[in-house]
Amino acid sequence: MGLFYVIYLDFMRQINIPDWLIIILWHIINFCFAAVLLIFIVLFLVLFERKYLAFFTRRKGPNRVGLNGCLQTAADGLKILFKENILPSGADKFLYFCAPLLVFSPIMAVYCLIPFAEDLTAYNSCCGVLLFMAILSLPPLGVLFAGYSSGNKYSLIGGIRSCVQSISSEIPVFIVLAGIVLLTGSMNLNEITKAQSGIFLNWNIFPSILGFIIFLICSLIIMNRIPFDFPEAESELTAGYNSEYSGMKFAMFFLGEYALTFIFSAFIAVLFLGGYNPPFGVYAADLLNLPLISGAIVKNIEQFFWLMIKTYILILIIMWFRAAYPRLRQSDAIEFCWYILIPLSVFNLFILCIIQFIRGCL
């Protein structure tokens, strides 16, 4: 909770608001913060990806709405709000309505777990790593529901593919995570970040470069991005699990996918790239000798900035893959997970054990 909570508590007590309301309001504010952040990030990310891919393919990308196309996704979002919601005749109504929520809300929930800055963590859970992955195992279920309930064969295949790949990709992820927990001695994302403070050589990526690569590949599978976007492989399954969705329900899948890309990149940045720590271990706020409160605020902003930089570098790399590679066959990808990634991640864990043992001896 930290600094911001103290400031907030202080302010609320001054204007005589009862304690129970203060706590509820705090959570509501956190939620609004996450929601607004998410919407803006997603709108930006969609535009960013289109521009970025256009850059790779020698095009201009969207450049009509707003200055150089900056309002394109806002206009798209507005358009999608006015679209008709269509219920296919063969659909399972209840699941059909549930599925987008089941995809979108867990992704939104994990925004609370990421320490964007030292005092900017909505929910500082003691086992954040575990909770993060546990919550993120829900969206594939939503995708499966969507595929099953649409009453469309393409959707069904897409939904099943999503389930299959989530099973095979999450095992190496958890083994790599075990290595990280071993290195940092904590499951709390804030603690993990703090364990990597100092210059960039302290980041987890250096002992665990193999783990980083495995994690990046698996995150591509979890995020459904090329080269692993099987559930919605448009050349095979038209649009996969969301073929039958329209309007806001489609938007939820779509936003969820980009929100997941962002939050997972942030998660990797926290685990491997030192989270909000600046690369050289020095804060401008410390150098400027600012007074206590404003200094702490500036420091938080700085940390937020660093995390964003790292996240966006990862997103750039992920989108770069999309520009360069075709899609794998799913059976190959699953084989790759089971036969190569899992042994490699165990090997990675073994190396980390040795490193940790040596560290303990020194």
Binding site: L53, F56, T57, R58, R59, K153, Y154, I157, I226, P227, D229, F230, A233, E234, S235, E236, T238, R322, A323, A324, Y325, P326, R327, L328, R329, Q330, S331, D332
Partner: protein
């Protein structure tokens, strides 16, 4: 009660599906993702091209012919024009032969480039499409300035070609041909060794040489299976006997071989273009490009088969004429029609994603199948 078979699923791919390249419909029987049976259903783009010929005179039918294979219209145009020339027993001027060869090879490159882009799009890669289209666009611009349209050229006429190629357009083609090998190198760098690409294309859709011959497959699909059959070498038409080029052949016959064959074919076509340009740029005194026939007076008689090695394979135009101004009957033999029948043989027992990889590699284009 429980009589429904829950293991087998029938799924309709197309006629409107992102990767069926037009309007092919595939009735696919799946077990899980494994393909048990594929039944191609054609006819969604049928325009009655053969019937149309019967109530049009020879020159009226000429612009329509380009639309049989709209990605490489010159080949259809050539097959038809050549058939009429054979009926009339005339020999076209040598410069017209060079121009026809040049434009047809440009068209072959264009067609293969579009195939390359779309094939990689089928496999999920987006960038190669744009890179291929950038090069294709240059050729289209050149052909637009030469013929007046981007795809429906209507450039050949009975007894030659309609317009002479100006020197500046020849120079533009020369610039393109000089630059093109580096572009092909780029595609190869991006695609050929990519493990994702090779894992999806190698050992899938294997077309044995015998099967290919049984199904009358021609063109790059056949040459990827190990048969070095190319009409340009076997019975050279136009000026192909004067040119120096190779026929790329691969042995295995899988999707990857078909890809490599087409990439190499583009390189060979580029070589042919440069050779044609050599002749056209050096010999400027030869200005005879057509025989100046009156197309409305064409009233041939007889029956003739005209063949051309189009970008997709052997294309034949069979005309039966009775001495009136309209042909009695025209029959088209188009290579994609035969390739479309292959699917059930070579893509069976593959997975659903492989269906697209195999289907795309055959370079089937629907207007040519349905005509």
């Amino acid at each position: 009660m429980n009589s429904v078979n829950t293991n087998i699923m029938e799924i309709n791919i197309g006629p409107q599906h992102p990767s069926t390249h037009g309007v092919l419909r595939l009735k696919v029987t799946l077990e899980g993702e494994k393909i048990l049976n594929i039944e191609p259903v054609i006819g969604y783009l049928h325009r009655g091209m053969e019937k149309m010929a019967e109530n049009r005179n020879y020159i009226q039918y000429l612009p329509v012919v380009d639309r049989i294979d709209y990605l490489s219209g010159f080949f259809c145009s050539y097959a038809y024009v050549n058939a009429v020339e054979l009926l009339m027993n005339i020999e076209i001027p040598i410069k017209a032969k060079y121009i026809r060869t040049l434009t047809m090879e440009m068209n072959r490159i264009m067609s293969h480039l579009l195939w390359l882009g779309c094939y990689l799009l089928d496999l999920g890669a987006t960038s190669p499409l744009f890179y291929a289209f950038i090069e294709r666009e240059k050729l289209m611009d050149i052909l637009e300035d030469l013929t007046g349209a981007r795809m429906m050229y209507n450039y050949y006429t009975f007894g030659g070609v309609k317009k002479d190629i100006p020197v500046d357009i020849l120079k533009r083609i020369y610039d393109f041909a000089k630059h093109f090998p580096s572009s092909v190198k780029e595609y190869e760098d991006l695609i050929s060794d990519n493990p994702i690409f090779t894992s999806r294309t190698m050992k899938t859709g294997i077309l044995a040489k015998e099967t290919a011959e049984q199904f009358s497959i021609t063109g790059a699909n056949l040459r990827a299976s190990g048969a070095a059959k190319d009409l340009r070498k076997d019975s050279p038409y136009l000026i192909y006997n004067l040119l120096d080029f190779n026929i790329p052949v691969k042995q295995t016959g899988d999707s990857y071989c078909r890809y490599i064959t087409r990439i190499n074919e583009m390189k060979e076509s580029n070589k042919i273009i440069l050779q044609c340009l050599d002749r056209l740029l050096t010999d400027e005194n030869d200005n005879e490009i057509n025989l100046k026939l009156n197309p409305l007076s064409i009233k041939p008689e007889g029956e003739v088969i005209s063949e051309v090695e189009s970008s997709r394979g052997l294309m034949q135009c069979i005309i039966s004429a009775d001495g009136s101004s309209n042909p009695l009957r025209i029959k088209w033999r188009t290579p994609s029609f035969y390739a479309a029948q292959l699917l059930n043989t070579i893509a069976k027992n593959h997975l659903l994603p492989d269906l697209m990889a195999v289907f795309g590699s055959l370079d089937i284009i629907m207007p040519e199948v349905d005509r």
